[in-house]
Symmetry: C3
């Protein structure tokens, strides 16, 4: 956290000025910086890729862009999810060109028919018997198998990591939630693993991913652009980011029945949710690209896919109990609330992106007290990708 320099020749306590600097504009526009983020963040950290339940059957796959790589996530015949680089080891054709699909038994390259099992091993290839290595031995079916990518499942999502030595999932991912909620178990109450997707909306945002993170981290803008949200969560009108206070959830207004666009009742609260968690909204940022929003009866789960310095695709899931989804109950009132919030936030980010290259933003803007915690995000970023200022 940035602190003011100690006043000279006095014993007054150090005071943080009300306005502290943001990152300069170049961090949001330069291709070289985005490339460094791809290399040092998205291709090094755990990256939330897909909802596991989307790949229910063996052979079901989904293709996801992680940093500069196309990653294939596929359900094996043994029921396990695995991730591979989406490229044939022979001449480099892309194995799957659809964003999602289903294969029968194997992943077969449509160019020369090199064929891989769902575990990534090379199963067969035309004239396989002629493919000997320099010593005349049969080629190694693992060495010439698909390039594996580390994968972990948590909260019902598959998280992948392209690093040669992935960092600790417990400290990086789970730790971020613990740090926010105060305990490692608070999130278990929501049983997110077993919820179902009631609605999914994909947003294509013409803004740098960090503008979206910074927007999510603060609520100084809530009174200005989120009328529906501040109606449901009156304390948001004060502009304080609930995320700053460990374990704090913003309380529903007294007249509000549920986390819905009109304050009308939602669904029964999730079975494990405690009375302390009831009628409260918790927002969690899991770096680099995930936001989790907890309310008593559902979860709003954001995954970002940064595609360029000025383009980010955001996939947002609304998760409910199986009863709600299978029962065909009307989720539109709860979906509409955060869908509006998303549209309001992304519009704000999109109007901020174009000015990042202005001379007036060369040294950035300022963070007011309600935004000071964003400075820690900036420091984290600089430490991760090298201080290029």
């Amino acid at each position: 956290m940035t602190t003011a320099s100690r006043s000279e020749s006095t014993d007054l306590p150090v005071r943080t000025p009300a306005l502290i600097p943001t990152l300069g504009g170049k961090w949001y526009v330069e291709d070289s910086i985005f490339a460094a983020e791809q290399e040092h963040l998205f291709e090094q950290m755990w990256f939330c890729a897909v909802r596991s339940a989307d790949l229910a059957r063996p052979g079901q796959f989904r293709r996801v862009q992680v940093g500069r790589e196309s990653v294939l996530i596929v359900r094996g015949r043994d029921g396990a999810l695995r991730a591979f680089l989406n490229i044939c080891r022979h001449r480099g054709a892309m194995l799957c060109t659809e964003d999602e699909g289903q294969v029968k038994r194997n992943l077969r390259c449509p160019y020369h028919a090199w064929t891989y099992g769902l575990d990534g091993k090379l199963v067969t290839a035309p004239n396989m018997s002629a493919l000997k290595d320099a010593e005349g031995e049969d080629i190694d079916r693992v060495a010439y198998g698909l390039v594996p990518v580390a994968l972990r499942e948590w909260l019902g999502y598959a998280w992948v990591c392209l690093a040669d030595e992935p960092p600790s999932f417990e400290s990086e991912v789970i730790g971020a939630v613990t740090e926010r909620l105060g305990t490692a178990t608070a999130i278990d109450a929501y049983d997110i693993d077993n919820l179902k997707v009631g609605r999914r909306v994909v947003y294509d945002v013409a803004a740098n991913w960090k503008l979206i993170v910074e927007n999510f981290m603060e609520c100084y803008h809530c009174a200005t652009i989120h009328p529906e949200l501040t109606e449901v969560l009156p304390e948001f009108a004060d502009g304080l980011a609930a995320q700053v206070f460990v374990g704090h959830g913003a309380e529903f207004g007294p007249e509000v029945a549920g986390f819905t666009v009109d304050g009308s009742p939602g669904f029964e609260r999730l079975p494990g949710v405690s009375p302390e968690q009831d009628r409260r909204y918790y927002a969690i940022t899991i770096r680099p690209t995930v936001f989790v929003n907890l309310v008593p009866d559902h979860i709003i789960f954001h995954r970002m896919y940064p595609l360029a310095a000025d383009r980010t695709v955001v996939e947002c899931d609304w998760l409910y109990t199986g009863d709600v989804v299978a029962g065909g109950r009307d989720v539109s009132h709860s979906v509409e609330l955060f869908h509006r919030v998303n549209e309001q936030d992304f519009a704000a980010c999109e109007r901020t992106q174009p000015t990042m290259s202005s001379r007036a933003y060369r040294n950035g803007g300022v963070l007011v007290p309600a935004e000071h915690h964003i400075a820690e995000f900036h420091e984290w970023l600089l430490a991760r990708i090298g201080d290029m200022r």
Copy 2:
């Protein structure tokens, strides 16, 4: 001006060869050169931005691209026009995303509601009382106000300058007109300040702005591509650029009644226009981006907005007396003439742009005698942005 090297061992006068070189092709295509022009020309010189009368009411604004900056020009409550960088000082959101519009009292950032007066001062912000500087003082409403941009009005247009120390408007802008017309007062006869816009056409030209300038400066092409214009101004068929001769205006043909597409009569001549100015056409180039065309009964005023090395938007106004415009008189015959000229010229520029990268144009082409004065434009450019040849 390029001159021939003195003939050795004779006393013959120095002779300029008939063909002298142009700039090489890279000056029209390379991004680095366009960036240098943005920095050293468009962001340093006086740049003609908007017609003042387009912003008649307090709170009316227009957004203009000047070099790399989005500039906001707005009419104040005191009736004065002012220009600012179009960016909020807090977190950098673009204040106005529409090209033109009207605010009531203030410019309010739609992201966090920082609010600026029409004079640019910070008026208020959410939790303003908490915004203290490092010494605990209230923040400076000017220092955190909008970034001002120098603005001058002349000929009914607002000219802005992004330079820290703007050059002399009198010598750079007014001086260009004086140099062309021979006196500082000749242009006053047209009373351009008080004319009204009878028609505006915006052209999106796929060519470097310098090709458009060079085209405007010479008339060697007139016989080839401007049949209507040479009909009205027969001397243009000879290919001599009227611009070269100080104070000279091209005379209408004897059968021509007015500066119209078919030579039919125009309107009454402007009240101040002298008999010497009557039945004559004067073209003036005001660097870097303005052309002014004077005829007895109206003015054709071009402003360029160079957007990329190979793209220039040109906004062209046809200006008439208030009587003509308010009276709803038919301006189509006079508009049609120069609209055709514009389309003919810009088509020529667009067919020249793609070949600028050819090996055959590495060292440029040649200027014939009727074009020799363009060399001075090239020398001016090189002196301004550094001789990168």
Copy 3:
């Protein structure tokens, strides 16, 4: 050809491993490499530009992109084809902006009316008498004529070369055919000069030109993606590239009547085709950008125009005797066969292009024995444009 390193301390023969490396992915994606290919290949070698018969009449022209240059090929009044850079020597306007057309007597620049004969000489210009050189002499009509480009005709096509000193057409172009067919005369049997275009299809392929060459050179993919072709040429199902064996043509299947999509009869065999050539398919690669396919009754002739690292336009002609074309006989069965092959091949190349930038392809993929001859293409390329590995 890549060879295995000799086994240490034994006298065993050197053995080539079954899998040898391809080029790394960067060779297919980097702009700097494509620029080197433009400079050292397309602008140095003989480049097949147009079918000569497409320009039958004097004044008929076609415009072609060769490397970074727009080249104009035009039939002269003397009946000869000539090629020039498509740019006026005066101020650089593009002479012809249509891909093809017809002029009456001369090539006249539409900007300032500099006018060139079909032989490229400057014929006239406005105020030509004023255009004197530094010595006061009339300007040189050749020196200020269009910039000529070397041109040779062979197989009924015009091949151009932008090099200052073109390489030997005989060894580079004709030599490639001789090397493949075993004799310099085998191709004469098809009398390609005198065939007519029965169908032309232009494909815009989102892939690097080298992927298209490599694809054409091998048949390891044939069983997977070319069902119709392997039906007609059963030996292609084995995956061996017919191109490797000098003089070998792949034989039609016993049930196959003609080289058609359904094996139905084609046309009478070309008059000069020998019994040994009958019922056989010969594929020839003429570097850098031409493929010739010979079958008894027609020719399929591919010309590539590499436009960017990831984009190549391919123009494919189906050539038949004048009798077939003039007689309006139905060529659709024979066209359909190779049109499908083209679409199948280009789809494979397009799915390979995006993964060339993957970390998994940084050092490339592998060539199986049936593809080993492609390594020679890679070595040729590296020798030509410098080993940038």
